[in-house]
């Protein structure tokens, strides 16, 4: 097969999946602890803006990343305050966060940078660019250099961090003490409380980690993928990450699979435009773009296995007795 095609699709897939992965892992941590997180979109947007604004002003990647993580954590903790401490509706809180993010990022953007909501472009040396410089383009005729080189090695550090995070989250949940407690609190908070641990404390812990990952996800968009922030640039990625998390049944490894699948579909969508498939004709680009959503609905409808959520998900914990 055409190694240039494979290489570029592979590279595209990994690049598109990276922010999805980070967001989806954030969602996994929050929801496995029992807190619905519809605000992934908003937090990613906040983080993207914070990273772009800070990086362009301070000319420092580190500050950009820190700002993004800090802002996303604040948003997560706010969600926690509304839902965990005050037993507010978790869905409404997430929706509110998304609205505030969509509005505030543009308001501040216009007020501070006067470019219609865009932040000033970030210099190339502040941005996160490819670690291994030689593989920017697939090379025709060279199978290894193309597929492995361009496909796997041509990415910026956040892409690799994203995949590392999958392993980290898996290890955290399955092999560490706080991870065990997090898993328990999302299934049977009463039991956790009876065993002497604080349900609130555990949920806030999860939300904090969620904030860090959302911060990284947002940073990817403005420090790695693009060079500046533009209004609504997340374009529904937070919801695709949500879909991937559900499709992956709230487990890190299947979620990785889902993110890769959705990333692959995105990579194919562009390439299939105008292409006539045998027997089917031209596949509308909107259909390919809609596939992640369609697949999630099909899964939820129980047609391809069932998605069983953590038992205490969405229910505010009330201490009885």
């Amino acid at each position: 097969m055409d190694e240039v095609l494979i290489a570029s699709v592979l590279a595209s897939t990994l690049r598109v999946s990276a922010p999805l992965l980070l967001c989806a892992m954030a969602g996994v941590l929050s929801e496995r602890a029992g807190v619905v997180d519809l605000g992934l979109e908003g937090k990613m947007l906040f983080a993207a803006f914070a990273a772009a604004a800070t990086a362009s002003v301070t000319h420092s990647t580190a500050f950009g990343l820190t700002a993004a993580i800090a802002v996303a954590c604040v948003a997560s903790l706010l969600h926690g305050f509304a839902c965990v401490s005050n037993r507010g509706d978790q869905v409404v809180s997430g929706v509110a966060l998304n609205m505030i993010a969509a509005g505030l990022t543009v308001v501040l953007g216009i007020a501070w940078f006067q470019q219609g909501g865009q932040t000033p472009p970030i210099e190339p040396d502040v941005r996160l660019t490819a670690i291994a410089k030689g593989f920017a383009e697939p090379q025709p005729g060279h199978w290894f250099a193309s597929v492995v080189g361009h496909g796997f090695l041509s990415h910026n550090v956040l892409v690799y961090v994203a995949f590392l995070m999958v392993a980290a989250v898996w290890f955290f949940l399955e092999r560490t003490r706080p991870g065990l407690r997090l898993r328990a609190v999302g299934e049977n908070p009463a039991m956790v409380e009876a065993a002497g641990m604080s349900v609130q404390g555990l949920r806030y812990q999860a939300l904090l980690m969620n904030g860090v990952l959302c911060g990284l996800a947002g940073s990817y968009l403005t420090l790695a993928q693009n060079a500046s922030f533009s209004p609504n640039m997340t374009a529904g990625r937070g919801f695709i990450a949500l879909a991937a998390m559900i499709f992956g049944k709230w487990k890190p490894l299947p979620t990785l699979g889902a993110c890769l699948l959705f990333g692959f579909l995105d990579a194919m969508a562009i390439r299939l435009q105008g292409v006539q498939l045998p027997g089917v004709g031209e596949v509308p680009v909107q259909l390919i773009q809609a596939l992640p959503y369609i697949l999630t609905v099909v899964l939820l409808a129980g047609f391809i296995g069932s998605a069983i959520a953590p038992k205490a998900l969405g229910r505010p914990y009330v201490k009885e007795r």
Partner: protein, 367 residues
Amino acid sequence: MSQPLQLPRWIDIGLLPLWNLAIALAVAGLVVMVIGHSPWQALTVLLNGALGSVRGLGYSLYYATTFIFTGLAVAVAIHAGLFNIGGEGQATLGGVGVALVALWLGAKLPAVVMLPLLVVASAVFGMLWAALPAYLQAWRGSHIVITTIMFNFLAAGLNGYLLVNWLRPAGSMAVESAEFAESARMPALHQIAAALGYELPSSPLNLSLVIALIACVFVGWFLWKSAAGYAVRAVGSAPRAAHYAGIRPRAQVLIAMAISGALAGMVGINEISGVQGKLTLDFVAGAGFTGIAVSLMGRNHPIGIILASLLFGVLYQGGVEVSFELQGFSREMVVTAQGLIVLFSGAMATVSAPLFARIYVAVKGGR
């Protein structure tokens, strides 16, 4: 042992929501200060722009019309115990329905037949888009919040596909459908006024407002007067009691969501038939989510929804004016304020309740 808070009704329905609203607006005012403007100046320009002229008022009411539809949609679903976040997608489909009927029949039928037909089309299309997630929830247990969010994206995709591949006139670059015939256009208020001999500045306000108000009456009747509404409210409030009473929860979920979707779909007659006169991309522009804010503020009651819709209409229209007049001020301030309102009136609605309870008890004790 948890003690349930017993706040008197006037605090619960009147004071607490107003307080939450005040906090939200105060925080919004803080944001305004952060970006270097005076909240009072912004507020003055806003109110002037929204209410200070007949034209501004017209715009405010036009926005309010859409919010009444989406607010009612959320309210009906909430009374059935469901959270319909799919208003955005259902409204989109309503617009698609309006466009399809208008383009197909608009030139052939007079307005007197066309307009009711468009109302029906918008309702039916919106209803279908809500019925599918409702069926999945009731019969297959799929969480309606997630499915309706997915359906929002699917609706946008469907709209885009139809526009690009079917409805765009040949040779046109704009992603829009052809323009509707005159008979498929909801008459604007200033047009009606002109026909009656009055002169009104032109604004997008059109007959849809009347339909929205009729919808309010319908929802009020449906929820509290009709037999179906009794069943829906029972299921939403006490599903086990409803089962005991011989009411079938699944059917009620479907009915409530169908009506909810139909209401959201009717946004199509305001935006597509009334204002645009053609199908466009993203004409809903977040109104589905504003509907959530409106319903929460309006305590899920038609009267409250009308008041809340007026508030948001004013906010939106005023917000546009402010963004013209004040440098560095953007329309998105309104979206931010809306988000803050949803946060404080929705998710954090009961945060201040203990405070009020203590004050109330202290004041009562002091007498």
